[in-house]
């Protein structure tokens, strides 16, 4: 009978087999990790018991009892619970991130393309922008806009006025508030239908282009559908949207809605700062397309905007998109610096105010971290999906 070459644990050869050693190393590591965790958790329970700290998530149902300067959902200073504070915080994080994401993408694109401009002055100005704002800590920028620039704005009585009905002062940016009447729902439907039809139009025109080669002015047509459809419905349904104009009453404004200065400063600083990274990604992406590609397209007689649209961008986007998505994630994480100026997002409200009142640091900080971890997981899933989609399909 052939004997198996397996060596016993006590023979010398056992440790010479890297696979066996790997198993032992891993068991030892696991053991150490478990021991260390047990030590920490044991201490934790001791400390919790000694200090008489309550544990668990029961506090989420208790009334928080503090005011929040900006809430997207209904919030009551007296009766709303900590659970609601959490939701308000997450929504405020999402709000500032969404505003800053849109703004930073636009600024970043403009600066990135500007840096490659044939115009010497423009490209140098864009370079100066990138080099200045990238090398200043984001927290310093947030504090600067908030404590210096916004604090220097005039009082409500001497507000700066834009288009008669918008006011900028040290209490924030006050805009007319749209009032929706019951008919306004039809406008919502119109927008939905317009979006759906544009979606199918794009698919149809792409298919037709693939089959027949005929071009369809898709951009102009979609844009007019998206603008005209809601506009027509707005007038047909009897102009159901009116505005509540802000007016100066005493020392402050009544009516309208106010964008609080914290939100202004934070969104502004985040978009200015992140835009420098997006600009660099855009520039690197466009530069990564070999000049031969552009020259080849030119010698085929394609027009400049067609070259950009069909030759340069599809290749550049593959390089641009992944770092840009990473920057989006960084922006969301950086929005946590709001806590330095008191914008009521998740860290300020929950890890700040709620933590001070409840004192259950572990639960609260873990919940805060879980929020950001969820964002990162969602974004990395999106990133993987995009990466798979824009990969060059090999044969």
């Amino acid at each position: 009978m052939k004997k198996n070459k397996k060596t016993s644990l006590f023979s010398k050869g056992f440790f010479n087999n890297p696979e066996n050693r790997a198993v032992i190393y891993q068991i030892v590591t696991l053991g150490l990790v478990i021991l260390f965790t047990m030590y920490l958790v044991g201490n934790l329970f001791d400390n919790v018991e000694k200090r008489g700290i309550t544990t668990g998530f029961a506090f989420l149902d208790e009334a928080a009892g503090f005011g929040v300067s900006q809430n997207l959902i209904e919030y009551n200073d007296v009766s709303s619970t900590y659970g609601r504070v959490f939701v308000v915080g997450v929504l405020n994080t999402l709000l500032v991130s969404a505003i800053a994401l849109v703004a930073t993408t636009i600024i970043g694109l403009m600066i990135g393309i500007g840096r490659l401009s044939s115009n010497w002055l423009i490209s140098k100005l864009c370079m100066v922008y990138v080099e200045i704002f990238r090398n200043i800590p984001i927290l310093l920028q947030i504090l600067f806009w908030y404590n210096v620039v916004l604090a220097a704005l005039p009082s409500p009585r001497k507000s700066m006025v834009f288009f008669e009905h918008a006011f900028l002062n040290n209490r924030g940016f006050i805009l007319p508030k749209p009032l929706l009447e019951s008919n306004a729902i039809y406008i919502g439907f119109a927008i939905l239908i317009a979006c759906a039809s544009v979606f199918y139009l794009v698919r149809w025109s792409k298919k037709r282009h693939d089959e027949t080669g005929e071009e369809f002015p898709i951009f102009k047509v979609s844009l007019s559908i998206l603008v005209l459809a809601p506009l027509i419905v707005y007038f047909v349904s009897g102009q159901p949207i009116s505005a509540d104009y802000p007016a100066l009453k005493g020392f402050n404004f009544k009516g309208g809605f106010t964008i609080i200065p914290e939100l202004l400063a934070l969104a502004f600083a985040l978009s200015i700062y992140t835009a420098t990274y997006i600009a660099e990604a855009v520039r690197a992406g466009i530069e990564s397309v070999p000049t031969g590609q552009k020259e080849a397209a030119k010698s085929l007689g394609l027009k400049d905007h067609i070259i950009l649209q069909k030759v340069v961008l599809p290749q550049a986007l593959r390089v641009i998109i992944p770092p840009v998505i990473n920057q989006y994630l960084n922006l969301i994480k950086n929005s946590s610096l709001a806590t330095a100026i008191g914008y009521p997002e998740i860290v300020t409200l929950f890890s700040g105010t709620a933590l001070n009142q409840v004192g259950q640091a572990i639960e609260i900080i873990l919940m805060t971290m879980a929020v950001y971890l969820t964002f990162s997981i969602v974004i990395s899933v999106v990133l993987n999906w995009v990466n798979a989609k824009i990969q060059i399909k090999g044969r």
Binding site: A22, Y25, Q26, T29, L30, V33, L40, N43, L44, D46, N47, V48, K50, S117, S118, N119, W120, L121, I122, L125, E131, I132, R134, N135, I136, P137, I138, L139, L140, L143, F144, N147, V148, A151, K333, N334, S336, L337, T339, A340, V347, S351, L355, A361, I362, I365, T368, M369, Y372, L373, F375, S376, I377
Partner: protein, 361 residues
């Protein structure tokens, strides 16, 4: 046989060179470009002269607070509070200790690069410099006065936090990067889990974690200094990022290098430290510098957990009733310092990158 004479090269046509041609080509080549150029000049005209006026020409550079007459920057505030911006509450009689650390740094670099040839001596220097610096800064030995960490502040604290962060995170980062590449599934999972967790949450939550939660995980007898807690948070944070940077370097090393090391019969650690890591670290230097710049900018966050770095000094110096309302000068001064340090580091990293790239071009 015809004799060919070399003709002198003719001058380029007059309209293809010179500043006017350059301006035509680079600034006014089309109507759109002309408009952009004019807009650009207008922008510069609107921002640069007032800025220069404020910062230099209309600024008050000397005298006392009562004598300020110009409406530009009042730099006398910075001059008055300079020590606080640099050293925080570090006792004035002991400032020489910080300055000598600052002086020892270039000396050590010169020693390391040009004088010492023995690798053991280099290693000794590498260990000695942080130890000596710590003794000098913290004191308590050799008759030096002990300076409590809550007196540390200003730019000095910023630099201490950034340096400790990068030095302490480096070995951890290398281990994490190797662990992430390891063939052992358990170790790989642990490393990936740690790295992705840290990279998924903002630094500020880690700092809160370190400052509020960390003490609860240890025996009551073990006291953590506030600064030490911040340093732990920053080190954990930075090591995850360094690990990813080094992983990038490791992945760029061709498989043949690993196989060659195996073929020579080197053990795992020999292969890593003698063959793979020296190459991987070399190509990741620009990214390591980049990561260090980010860390340097991120050290500002320690002010949120109540440490007084240079940025926190702006608020603190302005709480002096003698000097109220000098925030603008404070912020601008701190901005200039951060900008100068980060910009020079990024230029340095670019120059390294260029040096490495020459072989491919």
């Amino acid at each position: 046989m015809a004799i060919f004479e070399l003709k002198e090269a003719r001058e380029a046509p007059a309209d293809t060179k010179g500043p006017i041609h350059w301006a035509k080509e680079k600034l006014f080549s089309s109507i759109g470009n002309t408009i952009l150029t004019l807009l650009g000049f207008y922008l510069v005209y609107m921002t640069l002269p007032p800025l220069l006026d404020w910062m230099i020409f209309d600024a008050t550079w000397s005298g006392t607070k009562a004598e300020i007459t110009k409406d530009g920057a009042r730099w006398i505030f910075i001059i008055e509070k300079f020590d606080q911006f640099m050293y925080g509450f570090y006792p004035e009689s002991e400032h020489w200790r910080l300055l000598s650390v600052l002086g020892l740094f270039p000396i050590s670099i010169v020693l390391f690069k040009y004088v010492l040839t023995n690798s053991k001596a280099k290693l000794a220097l590498l260990i000695a410099f942080p130890v000596v610096s710590f003794i000098l800064i913290s004191g308590g030995f050799f008759g030096l006065m002990h300076v409590e960490t809550h007196n540390w502040g200003g730019l000095m604290l910023t630099i201490v936090v950034a340096s400790v962060g990068i030095i302490a995170s480096f070995p951890i980062g290398i281990m994490l990067a190797l662990g992430r590449q390891s063939k052992m599934p358990l170790i790989r999972t642990l490393c990936i889990g740690f790295i992705e967790f840290i990279r998924g949450v903002p630094l500020i939550t880690l700092l809160f974690m370190a400052s509020v939660v960390l003490p609860m995980f240890f025996h009551e007898g073990i006291e953590f200094d506030k600064l030490l807690r911040a340093l732990i948070g920053i080190t954990l944070f930075q090591s995850a990022y360094i690990a990813e940077v080094i992983r990038g370097g490791l992945q760029a090393i061709p498989r043949g290098q690993y196989e060659a090391a195996d073929a020579l019969g080197l053990t795992y650690w020999q292969a890593m430290f003698l063959i793979i890591l020296p190459q991987a670290l070399k190509i990741s230097i620009p990214n390591i510098v980049g990561s260090f710049i980010s860390l340097f900018k991120d050290t500002t966050l320690i002010l949120i957990i109540g440490l007084f770095d240079i940025l926190a000094m702006v608020t603190l110096t302005n709480s002096d009733t003698q000097w109220l309302g000098f925030e603008v000068e404070g912020y601008v001064f701190v901005t200039i310092i951060y900008w100068a340090i980060c910009f020079s580091m990024s230029q340095y990293s670019k120059s390294i990158e260029r040096r490495f790239n020459t072989e491919n071009k």
